[in-house]
Symmetry: C2
Subunit: 247 residues, 2 copies
């Protein structure tokens, strides 16, 4: 079900971003008109995208999703290639988030939202052993998926090696690290932050390659932060440093 | 379904914390033994809690939950009273998180985890217009629910007023604020952070009462952080300030 997105926000965001080919929008006859729906209809008209009002039986296959009576049939997401990303990289410092074995669609969706809000330049996922971008991810990302390139690589080790050779610094998050995430100065480098699987953490081969290994200090003996929340703490510290120009 | 918790982590945490009366633990005959399961059995024996190995049909009513073949029947969570919380408050500075209209169980669960990791002293929820602690919240909290008091109040406005009268400072998160969340010095006061509903934000009456209104600066024109991720950014900034003793 990679070819359908659900809900007003997601459909509206996809229309605004305009980087996904939308084949058709289906709107339930039963939903009430509101600002968002009107915007969707206006944009669809403007872009020549067909929208149809349909009975609720058309939504039956998508019952498990919170579709709010609106879905759009779209072309699948286009993953980016790491080489392509590096070639297109703009002047100045960029940032990446590398996901090593994230299994939960909701977590990936939340991570994408956080990365877009924090101005991250791209998200790297491995082609195996990590959740891929599916309908739940799109929905949970609240449209953010349209605002950031998702870079798919066959080997995270090779990708990290390549980044290191291209003047990037690599920071891995690990609960057993000595340094805290705010001990690193993120203001004067290209950096990539590696977040590990919900249970296993960042794999050893990647920890070994990383320039910094950092933890989030816990004020209680309960070390079990949700991965998207852990990333949020780290990534907004990089934003704070950038905007205040101090570590 | 307030009286059942699901999954190895949640059951184990409830056993360790010991603050919830566990009536019985049901374990599926089909699950494999592992470290966590052994710990659960040992602790249950030690505490004289009955555990039974049962066929998978016993789990049918809980199919929609990710129960991993283990559930515990427990007494419902005991909410705390704000006066009681304030009376029991320890010397030194404490912190609270106030939730104003959070609707999503997964978000509440993630918020509880983050608050425990960051050493927050309690979470305040209103008795209406906010998700209550249910089985999904317990599961998503990964057992964190047993490590932090949940304070239920009839009126958030009265609660905030009471906190202000008791030497607490109140910080509300709002996307339209002028100040950034890291502009506030959290190191030398009791503080309560108010997070608003996923769409509507913090209600006006509470914004008006707050001592500080802060935003999370966005580096991209996409202002839609998940509420638990927004809280994580703010709350770990308070941890950073505490541990480094600098704003």
């Amino acid at each position: 079900m990679n070819d359908v997105i659900f809900g007003k926000n997601s459909v509206l965001e996809a229309l605004i971003a305009g980087n996904r080919e939308i084949n058709k929008i289906l709107i339930s006859k039963n939903i009430h008109s509101d600002n968002k729906l009107n915007k969707i209809k206006d944009l669809a008209k403007e872009k020549g995208i067909i929208f149809q009002f349909v009975g609720k039986e058309k939504f039956q296959p998508y019952e498990e999703f919170n579709h709010q009576g609106i879905i759009a049939q779209i072309s699948p997401i286009e993953y980016k290639d790491l080489d392509e990303f590096l070639e297109e990289k703009k002047e100045g410092y960029s940032s990446l988030v590398i996901l090593d074995g994230i299994e939960d669609s909701h977590n990936l969706g939340a991570i994408i939202r956080t990365c877009v809000c924090a101005g991250v330049s791209g998200i790297v996922i491995p082609s195996r052993r990590n959740v891929q971008v599916n309908a739940t991810v799109e929905k949970t990302s609240a449209g953010a998926i349209n605002h950031i390139p998702i870079i798919k690589v066959n080997s995270l080790v090779n990708a990290v090696q390549k980044l290191k050779n291209s003047d990037w610094w690599v920071v891995a998050a690990d609960a057993n690290a000595k340094d805290n995430y705010y001990d690193v100065n993120y203001t004067d480098m290209n950096f990539a932050i590696i977040m590990g699987a919900e249970h296993a953490g960042v794999s050893k081969s990647l920890l070994k390659l990383s320039d910094f290994v950092v933890k989030i200090p816990m004020l209680k003996d309960f070390n079990s932060l949700n991965v998207s929340n852990a990333l949020s703490a780290i990534i907004f510290e990089t934003v704070r440093q950038k905007l205040t120009n101090k570590k």
